[in-house]
Each structure stands twice: as C-alpha cells, then as structure tokens.
C-alpha cells in the first residue's frame, strides 16, 4: 500500500558524497539507508540532514542534559514542549525559555537578532501564554575590533526594532565585550509569558484524521539549511555560501500572537507548534512524534511567496512568522474565521495519520516517506569523548606585579564597557509597554507585576565566561548563584531556571569536557536553590578557524515575590542608613574585570559552598519580605568599590557613602576590586540593622556593617590610602564610556 517516494527531475543524485555535502557523516548516511531500506530521495536527504543536525537533534548534548533536575512542586511543564512553565501563584503559570541566535546574528546582525526575538516569542505564545517580557544576553568582540561597532549597532537595533514593534517589553539583559568573541558573537534571547494554569496549549498531535493547518506568512527560500549552518564552524567559505537571510516581520508576528491566543480559546486546537529551525519539517514531525502518530502533508497546499519552490525548499525553508496547528476535525472553519479576522490565512495542508510515518506529497506523488521515529527519538545520539585540556589555565594565584593607584583603578573600571552603564543599549528598547514593568533595566534584576494580583516576578540573565574558562564547573555554578542572588536582591525567591549553553565544537574532547562540567555545575546549583531547569537550548560550533569561544552557559532565573510593594532596588535611599556587607566567601582577583583590564592572567576560582549560597538567597528574600532592606546590590564586575559607586547612582538623586574596611582593607586591590565571592551590599535603616544582622548571622553568614550612606555625594572607602571621589564625576565616566567609544573617542 505504501507508495515508493519519487525523485524530482533535475535533482542532484543522492550518494555518500552528496550526504557529506549535507553535513551527514558516512555512518549517519548508512543509518539512513538502513532505516528506510533504500537510497533516500534528495528531498529525504535534506530532511534527514536538518533533523539530524546538532541544532535539531541535540545528538551530542542529549544524554548529558538528562542530568538536569526538572521537577518541583511548582513545575507545570518541564522540558519536552516548546518552553517550560512554573506556577507563580494566583492561578498563573509563567512560561519561559532562552534560545541562541548566534550564527544568523553574525551574518546579518539586525535581522539575525530580530528573528531571534521573533522565534523565542513564538515558543512562548505557542504554549498559549501571552508574552509579557523579553531579556537578552549579548557577547561581542573587543570594542577595538573593527566589526564590533557594526555588530553591536545591528544586534541592538534588531532586538529593539522587533521587540518594540511587537509590543513586548525588553526588561533586562547583559552585554559583554571580549576579544574571545571577535569572530563568534553570541545573541541569546529570552522570553516569558503568562497563562492561566490549565489553559496551556500543547505540541502533541492527537486524533488520526485531524486536519493540519498552516498559518501565517507564506513560504519563501529564507534560511534554507539555517539549522545545518548553526551546526558547523564558520570558515571563509561559509561567508559565500550563506543562504537567503531570514527577514523578520514583527507586525505579522503581532497578528499571530493575537490570533493564536484567540484561536486557543475556541478549544478547537489540538496541538500547535511554531515553524522554527528546519521549518515545516521539524514542526510537523515533532508534533506527530510527541503524539506517537504519523502525519501526511500535501505540499501543493502550502502558501508560497514565489513560484517554483521545490519540495526540498518548501520543507527546509525557515521563513519567519509561521505556525502549524492540528485542529479538531470538523472545526477548521471556526479556526479559519479567527485567523481571517486578524488578516491571516489558515490553510489545511494535511492530516494526522495512525501509521507513525512522516509522508509528504507534491504534485500527486509521494516525495518523502520516513518512519517518524527516525526524525525524532531514533536520531543518532553520541557519547562524544571528553577530556580535560592538557594545558590547564595557570592556577597560581593571580597577583599583579604592580597594582595601579586605587583612584586610577576605579576610574578605569567604571570606564570599561563591561561595567559601564548600558543605557545606550537599553534606551533603544521599549521596557515599559504593557505597563507591568516595576523595575526595568539598570538595576540588578527586573521586576514585573502580575495584573490583578499582589504578586510579582523578578528576572535576571547572567553569564561568566571568564570564570568558566578557568573552571567550567565552578564557573557554571557561580553563574547560577549570581542570577539567583540578583533575583533575591530584588526580593524574589528563585523558582525556575532556563539556560542557553554556548560552546565550541563538541567533536573536540576539550570542548565536550567543558560542556559536561558546565551541565554538572548547572545541575548542582539548580538542586541547591530548589529551582529546576524547565527549558533550554544548546548552541555548539561557536568557533571560527579552530578558535572556540570560552564556555558560556547563559543562565536566566525566574523569581517570585508575594507582594510587589516589597521589591528592592540596588540604589541607596536615605542618608544615615547603614551600609552592610553580607557574603559567603572571600573575594578574589581571578577572572575579574580588574584582572582583564590590568593584564593579570589565570588564578584559581574560590570554592563555592552551595548551602551558604542558598542561605544568602533565603536571607535576602526574608529581609525584603519583612521590609527591612532598603537596597541590595550584588557585587559583580569591578568588585566592592564599583558596587558601592553603582549603589550611589540613584536615578532620583545621587548619594554618597563612607565605608571603613578595617586595617586589612586599606587600598587592597583584592578587597576593593575582587570578585567571585557571593557578596551583597545592603543599606538598612539604622534601627533595623540588628534585625538584619540576625537574619544572616543566624544562617551562619558573615555580616558586617561597613559604613553609612551620606547626603554629600562623595564615595569614601578606607583610610588615607583608600578612595575619596566625587560621585558625580564617577557617574559621568560610567555613563559616557560606551557613547564615547561609539563617537569614535579612544
């Protein structure tokens, strides 16, 4: 009864060589022949090549990702759907995920970043959730690199252009500049949506005979083999063989959001999935395989943007703003009416079948017929060899031959683009549309209210590639701790994690080792905070001509607070308040911005005691809930001195601080500028200081009052050899560092 798929006249011949050109290994090609019992058609070869690419199949990472904890009382949806979901209370679930769009953004920064935002939005509203907040994590090459300014301008413009048009606020993010990313920038986009618990939609096909509907933009030759491209290293040639770049259309996306959410309310949608990487192929085969069923598509029904597309092109196109829906049989017209209302067309292009095969027809003939499992769970999985690099980073303590003067050092740090204000970036983003943003960019974590509820959510995205380069395990643990701490500084309890794991070529044992250690770090930290990893993405092959990026696990943490009015910002509030430090370990210069600026290599990361990290987070949340903490700022790049300066930069009116660090602290670079330790600078009303102290001391944490907030805007740290600077002057340096470089100043 099964028809043998036909080749299309004029198509290239399929053999081992052709398979290799499609990025398939010889073993993989043989496995394809075995699975289908014949030579694949050219169309089928294309389908296998994308579905078995690293990007779609997670073939190198899957067995390791299983180690990540994904359950808690609050998890509504763990990994396996388009995004994860966490119960945030009052009947709401937060659906969230972070995803990379590194390779496309390097080729065409504006459209690459824009379509990255569009793609992650679709992953969220596919679940039935209304997108309410976006974040991003960006890594560029050094500011001196000739392409950096162009890439920065394009990526930031693309995120703003798409996000602002579609009406989803960009509420937080991070930007880093480092020569290690000169030839491989990273663009990781995060989105979070809210949905009433119980109204979530699924990507699991059900009911043989149910129709499959195509919704959204027509299919063109955009981004064909984008998924395969993201699964290979860059070289000189890939510049030339780049496919038609995907172009985003945020206004169509906005229509899709509204139409899909409205269509979801009809109850006629059985399953829905966006067409992301590998487009129609992956969306249709994934929906069928999740449901343990098959699917049959008629490619002649697919709306095309231009004439003459072959089945190969239709199936592999990555045209943006398209969705695939399995509808309840007989209710197609109901759905079509909703989409017509939003000026979109919903076309029936196929149906669900019982036979667990993925079959496509074109001009009346079968052009592909593949067992569904071969495109999903039976795709190759590798246990790639992993080995620590032979040459370990230097582990001798990092001590500079000669430290610069303290006053000079703090100015240099505030002027570093990695520490300086990112206002130039985030003022291009609409951070308040939808009117939920309580705390937007510029403080430690973002805070969003949930309408008609006292509850709020806090969000933060972090990464620390320099620490991960020294120790990929501790670096990953530290990154999770930092993101969790930031959310806690805002007054929210961390409840869920999503991650984007950016690494080099997994076929190198050193890279695979970095990756595995990173996953283990993520696992251990996630368990310690009781915040499961509910979604994520892996981006391998971030390397150019043999130079991989440093391991860069990007971690986003979702926090929940019971009462939005109790949220805390990083800025000092009132003169006379005491300034206190609470920390879990001693700071170190290793992997710090100070080390990067003053040329200090290597060093050893301090051990991390996860029980103490969790205690710190709990103490911060409890202190905020009791209204005892006026400001809380996590010490990150630039150490204590920079954190104190930033806390003085209150947007309402700058303040000052007078801080004593004891004998040991005077002008000691490690005390002033060291990082790595989980340390928070608090300001507290004098009368509450004892209560806050018992909150932390009772948890076995080091707590010390180190000074007070002053009305006079001067930052005074330590005694004679310390620091005594005009805060306004420091702020000017901090605010102007990036604009000055973009103006062409050196």
């Amino acid at each position: 009864m099964s028809e043998r798929p036909v080749s299309i006249p004029g198509e290239p011949k399929v053999d081992l060589e052709q398979a290799r050109a499609h990025g398939l290994a010889p073993d993989e090609y043989r496995k394809i022949e075995q699975t289908i019992g014949r030579t694949p058609t050219y169309t089928e070869l294309g389908v296998f090549s994308v579905m078995w690419s690293e990007h779609c199949s997670y073939k190198s990472s899957r067995r390791h990702l299983r180690k990540l904890p994904s359950k808690s009382e609050l998890v509504v949806q763990g990994p396996g759907e388009n995004a994860g979901a966490i119960d945030v209370g009052d009947g709401w679930a937060a659906v969230f995920k972070i995803e990379s769009h590194n390779h496309p953004s390097f080729v065409e920064p504006y459209q690459g970043a824009a379509t990255g935002v569009g793609g992650i939005l679709r992953d969220i509203f596919t679940m039935g959730a209304r997108p309410v907040a976006s974040m991003n994590s960006l890594k560029f090459g050094s500011f001196e690199h000739p392409r950096t300014r162009y890439l920065l301008g394009g990526v930031v413009g693309g995120i703003g252009g798409y996000g602002n048009c579609v009406g989803v606020p960009t509420v937080a993010g991070e930007v880093m500049f480092d020569a290690a990313y000169n030839a491989n920038i990273l663009v990781n986009a995060f989105c979070l949506g809210l949905v009433r618990k119980g109204e979530m939609m699924s990507a699991k096909a059900r009911g043989p005979g149910n129709p499959v509907l195509y919704v959204g933009s027509a299919t063109g030759r955009d981004g064909i083999h984008g998924a395969s491209m993201a699964s290979a290293e860059f070289d000189k040639e890939s510049e030339a063989k780049r496919p038609a770049v995907q172009v985003g259309d945020p206004f169509t996306e906005k229509l899709l959001i509204e139409a899909c959410l409205e269509a979801g309310k009809t109850g006629a949608i059985v399953a829905i999935q966006d067409m992301g990487a590998a487009g129609l192929t992956s969306s249709s085969s994934e929906m069928a395989s999740h449901g343990g069923l098959g699917i049959e598509l008629d490619l002649d029904k697919v709306p095309l943007r231009e004439a003459g597309l072959t089945p190969y092109e239709i199936l592999l196109s990555e045209s943006q703003e398209r969705m695939l829906i399995v509808a309840e049989r007989g209710r197609e017209a109901e759905l079509q009416a909703v989409f017509e209302k939003w000026d979109l067309h919903a076309v029936v292009i196929g149906h669900v079948t019982e036979d667990q095969r993925w079959r496509t027809r074109w001009r009346g003939q079968v052009v592909a017929d593949i067992p569904i499992g071969a495109l999903a769970d039976d795709a190759p999985i590798y246990d790639r060899p992993a080995a620590a690099p032979k040459i370990q980073p230097q582990t001798k303590p990092a001590i500079a031959a000669k430290h610069p003067e303290t006053a000079k050092a703090i100015r240099a740090l505030l002027d570093s683009p990695n520490i300086a204000s990112k206002k130039w970036v985030y003022r291009q983003y609409d951070s308040i549309v939808q009117s939920n943003t309580v705390l937007g960019p510029g403080s430690d974590g973002a805070v969003l209210r949930i309408k008609n509820s006292r509850r709020a959510i806090a969000l933060k995205v972090d990464s620390n590639p320099r620490a991960c380069a020294l120790d990929p395990y501790l670096g990953a643990v530290g990154t999770v701790c930092e993101a969790a701490r930031n959310v806690a500084c805002a007054g929210a309890r961390p409840v869920g994690i999503t991650n984007c794991l950016n690494y080099g070529n997994p076929e190198r044992p050193e890279v695979m080792w970095q990756f595995i250690r990173g996953v283990e770090g993520l696992r251990d930290a996630s368990i310690a905070f009781g915040a499961p990893v509910v979604s994520g993405n892996v981006s391998f092959y971030n390397e150019t001509e043999g130079h991989p990026i440093p391991p860069t696990p990007t971690i986003a943490v979702l926090g929940v607070m019971i009462d939005v009015a109790k949220h805390v910002t990083q800025f000092f509030k009132n003169p006379g308040d005491v300034i206190a430090l609470v920390r879990t370990a001693a700071p170190s210069i290793a992997a710090s911005e100070y080390a990067a600026i003053f040329g200090i290599d290597g060093g050893r990361l301090g051990a991390i005691d996860l029980a103490r990290e969790a205690a710190l987070v709990e103490g911060l949340v409890e202190g905020a809930e009791q209204g005892l903490i006026k400001s809380a700022h996590d010490i990150a790049e630039g150490g204590l001195a920079v954190a104190l300066a930033e806390a003085c930069f209150n947007p309402r009116a700058i303040l000052g601080a007078e801080v004593e660090l004891g004998r040991a602290g005077n002008a000691d670079a490690v005390v002033f500028f060291g990082e790595g330790a989980s340390t928070v600078v608090l300001s507290i009303a004098k009368r509450d200081a004892a209560r806050v102290e018992s909150l932390f001391a009772g948890r076995g944490l080091e707590f010390a009052v180190i000074g007070r907030v002053t009305a006079e805007p001067r930052l005074k740290i330590g005694a004679a050899a310390g620091l005594d600077e005009d805060v306004a002057e420091l702020q000017r340096i901090y605010e102007d560092a990036i604009p000055r470089r973009l103006r062409g100043g050196d």
Binding site: G220, D222, A244, V247, R305, S319
Partner: protein, 81 residues
C-alpha cells in the same frame, strides 16, 4: 559626475515593506497589482575624470555603505554611459 544608485531587496528575501504596500494598494481597489518591492534610489555627485572611474568609486560606496549586500542588490547608472 552624477551617479544614480538603485538598491532593492535581494531576490527571494522577504520584503515586509513591499508586502505592506501591496496589500494597501489592493485594499484601495488596485486588484491588478502584485509582486511589489520597495527599495531606495540614491543620487550622488562623484568627482571623477572618467565614467569608469566614477563607476569604480560608486561600486565601493555601495559595498561599504549604500547597500547591505547580505540582503540587498544594487545597480547604478553613471552619467555619460
């Protein structure tokens, strides 16, 4: 020497602006219109001794700034050619 540069979306690339114009035209009743693309037209005065020198300069300008060769095609006309 006057150089006229025409920049258009590359073939096969989605042109949201062209699509918006096309659907607006159709909703105004111009049902006979399709395949609308929107690009830009740039006029330059280039100091050059010969048309071919102006042409070389214009090509460099297009590659460097006027067009984004990843997503746009360009062509130009030089006075006296």
């Amino acid at each position: 020497m006057q150089v006229r540069v025409f920049v258009t979306p590359r073939k096969g690339i989605l042109d949201p602006q062209g699509r918006a114009v096309e659907s607006s035209l159709q909703s105004l009743g111009f049902k006979n219109v399709s395949g609308v693309k929107v690009g830009k037209y740039i006029l330059l005065e280039v100091e050059a001794r010969t048309a071919s020198e102006a042409r070389d300069e214009a090509k460099k300008m297009c590659e460097a700034l006027l067009a984004n060769p990843v997503i746009e095609d360009y062509r130009f006309e030089v006075d006296g050619e």
